[in-house]
């Protein structure tokens, strides 16, 4: 049996749970792309006092702060969506109303963390 395929993007309904779900995937890919840079920064920070100072100096650049902010948002969203997933594994929040509310909480929670991080960074 073939799976039905429906690709008319203007007509596809995207309820809040679907937004949380696809964003979980997108943020996962973003994090995977960011991890090698994170390991590089860990490496720099531990090598020597001058390289540690370079890591500190990185946080003075606006462009670096923007990238760090995107990474923090992606991590927060991915983490919250993951916890929501784990809870649904043990059958917490499966009812549609609760699931919608928790999906909103995840989406807003991720943005709230990003807002806090922006306050701390900029």
């Amino acid at each position: 049996m073939r799976k039905p395929v429906f690709f008319n993007l203007t007509q596809i309904q995207l309820p809040v749970g679907a937004v949380t779900s696809i964003t979980h995937r997108i943020t996962g890919v973003l994090l995977a792309v960011g991890i090698p840079f994170g390991i590089y920064i860990l490496d720099l920070s531990l090598q020597s006092p001058p390289s540690y100072a370079r890591v500190i100096a990185l946080f003075g650049y606006r462009s670096f702060k923007v990238v760090a902010l995107v990474f923090i948002w992606a991590l927060a969203h991915h983490l919250f969506a993951g916890v929501r997933h784990l809870l649904s594994d043990i059958d917490i929040g499966s009812r549609l109303q609760v699931a919608r509310r928790s999906a909103w909480s995840v989406n807003i929670g991720g943005l709230a963390v990003a807002l806090f991080a922006a306050g701390a960074l900029f």
Binding site: L46, Y52, L79
Partner: protein, 112 residues
């Protein structure tokens, strides 16, 4: 029978690694909020402590495993031609092994 449980292993790995990483991130966040390292020496000394370096190593193993399961799912969903799919999975797997080797180097070097 094998078919019925085929997806269980990665499914479980994804969750076990997620829970460990969650705990580690809470621990890391608590440390950076309560007692942020003020200098290279403080940071280096903290990182080379036995508990922190082992916990960090386990975190990196969990992270790379979690990345493997997650990105593998993404590749399997979107890359359909077999040759490109195998090539993508192979390249990504080798990349993760490389990252693992790099992390081991960093953590061992911190002890040198």
């Amino acid at each position: 029978m094998k078919r019925a449980i085929a997806g269980l292993h990665p499914w479980l790995l994804q969750r076990v690694t997620a829970v460990y990483m969650l705990l580690f991130i809470v621990f890391l966040l608590a440390h950076f909020l309560l007692d942020p390292p003020q200098s290279y020496l403080a940071w280096h000394a903290w990182m080379r402590g036995p508990v922190v370096s082992i916990a960090t190593f386990v975190f990196c193993v969990a992270l790379l495993t979690h990345m493997w399961v997650g990105v593998r799912d993404v590749i399997l969903d979107y890359v359909k031609p077999l040759a490109i799919r195998v090539a993508a999975l192979t390249l990504f797997g080798l990349g993760l092994i490389g990252l693992g080797a790099w992390v081991i180097h960093i953590l061992l070097f911190a002890h040198g």
